[in-house]
């Protein structure tokens, strides 16, 4: 047999550009909001909630900038909301996961913003007591008139209801990219990667906690708090070991149950070893960081290296395996793609800086 290929695929081997790499990174904003909501509902990790919420909102708000940059006709992007394919008809059977998730994003972001406004109301009031000038007016405005713990009690109940409501939408977002990949059933690597959704879900928690620790380290590097660091490190360690184990398990499944698939995915297995090694290292460092808090910087950086490698392998390398599974196409990486990839993340950082100016991230318990 000779020349069995799809010419269109060879002409554009990377249809989805590396910007998706940034996109899936930004999805970790949803996981930070999940953690914030769960912490709020359970009454734990209270001192971490403000930073988690604002970091989560900042990255989740710009999450669609990633795919927007990858659209060939971005000027028509609003059609996803204006004309969503979410009801099957005779001419348009089935429903589109992309359209469904876009609407879920809108709902989740609105709920998250309300959650933030309500939870920050009392924090803002507390901050207004110790600030002056414009900042004092700003904090007063965002206190929503809440000046006592009693008044906050009512808003707290509403915030808890909102926290429950936003959870399903945020969880959907946590597994969205991997579900989308799995549904592209004609990519032989993705469709054979049965553990992709659960791996990805754990992976976004790794990114979320690593990102949180990175920001927290530089923000409070002189006074890292044990009650914040230790729980986050435990979540991070659980996520890291899960991703490493799931990646190893997927390789084992291929080797033992589908040798032909194992052969087909050969081009992506070397980086899978790297992912397992880095995340195991991050897992081990987490335990050191529980004793020596300053090590959270190393934990964060190693974990990010691991998840970046994982995402690059899943998104870019797996996409280069041809539809026949017989060839590994070569992609010429364009320089503009670097800017395209960095921009959405940079936008998230800018939004976070703005939010951190508008809302107090430093919380004093009990109005003290």
């Amino acid at each position: 047999m000779l020349e069995y290929y799809f010419p269109n695929e060879a002409a554009e081997p990377l249809l989805w550009h590396p910007v998706l790499f940034a996109y899936t990174l930004l999805v970790s904003g949803a996981d930070l909001l999940i953690l914030a909501a769960l912490a709020y509902l359970s009454g734990s990790l209270r001192r971490a909630i403000p930073l988690m919420t604002m970091l989560g909102i900042a990255f989740f708000a710009v999450v669609l900038a990633g795919p927007l940059a990858d659209l060939r006709s971005p000027q028509r992007a609003y059609f996803i909301f204006a004309n969503p394919h979410i009801v099957p008809t005779s001419t348009n059977p089935g429903i589109s996961l992309i359209a469904f998730q876009s609407i879920a994003w809108l709902i989740a972001l609105t709920l998250s913003a309300l959650f933030a406004l309500f939870t920050f109301s009392y924090y803002s009031h507390q901050a207004s007591l110790s600030s002056t000038g414009f900042k004092r007016s700003l904090y007063r405005f965002f206190s929503l008139g809440v000046t006592t713990a009693e008044k906050y009690g009512t808003l707290e109940k509403i915030a808890k209801v909102i926290a429950v409501l936003m959870l399903p939408f945020l969880v959907l977002w946590g597994i969205y990219p991997s579900s989308m990949f799995l549904m592209q059933t004609w990519n032989p690597a993705w469709r054979s990667w049965a553990l992709l959704p659960v791996t990805y879900f754990a992976d976004t928690f790794v990114v979320a906690t690593a990102l949180f620790m990175l920001v927290y380290f530089f923000w409070r590097y002189r006074a890292l708090e044990r009650e914040v660091v230790v729980p986050v490190l435990k979540i991070h360690a659980a996520g890291s070991i899960s991703v490493a184990a799931l990646t190893a398990l997927q390789m084992a499944v291929w080797w033992f149950w589908s040798p032909s698939t194992a052969e087909m995915v050969t081009p992506i297995t070397p980086l899978m070893y790297v992912v397992i090694t880095l995340l195991m290292l991050s897992f081990s460092l987490s335990f050191i960081a529980i004793r020596y808090h300053a090590a959270i910087l190393a934990v964060s950086l190693v974990a990010m290296a691991g998840t970046f490698t994982n995402k690059w392998n899943i998104i870019v390398n797996a996409q280069l395996i041809s539809k026949t599974g017989l060839a590994f196409l070569e992609a010429e990486l364009e320089a503009s793609w670097i800017l395209e990839t960095i921009s959405p993340v940079a936008l998230g950082v800018v939004v976070f800086v703005i939010l951190s100016l508008l809302f107090p991230l430093e919380v004093s318990e009990g109005g003290k």
Binding site: M1, L2, E3, Y4, Y5, F6, P7, N8, E9, A11, E12, L15, W16, P67, D70, L71, R72, S73, P74, R76, A77, Y78, F79, I80, F81, A82, N83, P84, H85, I86, V87, P88, T89, S90, T91, N92, P93, G94, I95, S96, L97, I98, A99, S102, I103, M183, Q184, T185, W186, N187, K323
Partner: protein
């Protein structure tokens, strides 16, 4: 431009009301079920169909609405297999489209509404035949349309008309025509039948290797 703005406005209102809008379908339907038959024995790889298609539909360089794959038997014999969009009965490319730009007509044609396509590539990724491509000029997904503009004028698709050996036969199924007669009377094969997409390009003498 006015039409797009109006559609955008109406669509935005319906989205706000959480009511999905159905995409506009510019194609005129005749109520037939179009299909194509390709006799691999008759194709000798002259590429006339590929060129005719590219010229008729302004297909950009490097992309193809139809193409010819070659297989070489152990004895050196070459086999040419023309391929294109299979206009599937259950097209895997239609559900992923977020805006409903990709749709299926009652005639069985799977088409793309250029005015609704945002160029996300979801349909390109989901086509099992590699028949779709992202048109770099138009910024939308592109593929074979069975030359629906020619059908509307009573003409055959450009590739069928250009084929010097009559390897391609086109027409509505379930009617008294050459295509229906051959499909009924001779053993025909499909590309990747295991996908369940029910492709509507029928082949004669298709080598088994193609579907392996």
């Amino acid at each position: 431009m006015n039409e797009v703005s109006r559609r955008g406005f109406l669509g935005a209102v319906s989205a706000l009301m959480m009511l999905p809008a159905v995409s506009a379908a510019p194609h005129t339907e005749s109520g037939k079920r179009y299909a194509m038959l390709i006799d691999v024995d008759k194709c000798f790889g002259c590429m006339a169909c590929v060129v005719a298609c590219a010229a008729e539909n302004n297909v950009p360089l490097g992309s193809f609405r139809t193409w010819i794959e070659q297989l070489v038997k152990p004895d050196g014999t070459r086999i040419f297999v023309p391929k294109q969009c299979n206009h599937c009965e259950d097209p895997p490319c239609v559900p992923p489209c977020p805006t409903g730009a990709t749709y299926k007509t009652a005639d069985g044609l799977v088409l793309v509404n250029d005015e609704l396509c945002i160029g996300c590539g979801a349909c390109v990724k989901s086509c099992p035949y590699g028949a779709r491509y992202s048109n770099p000029v138009k910024g939308v997904a592109d593929k074979c349309t069975f030359c629906d503009h020619r059908l509307a004028a009573g003409l055959l698709p450009a590739c069928v008309e250009a084929c010097p050996t009559g390897a391609r036969v086109f027409g509505p199924l379930h009617e008294d025509n050459e295509l229906s007669k051959i499909v009924r009377s001779r053993p025909v094969q499909l590309l990747k039948p295991h996908t369940g997409a029910e492709p509507q390009i029928y082949y004669i003498s298709l080598p088994d290797e193609v579907n392996r």
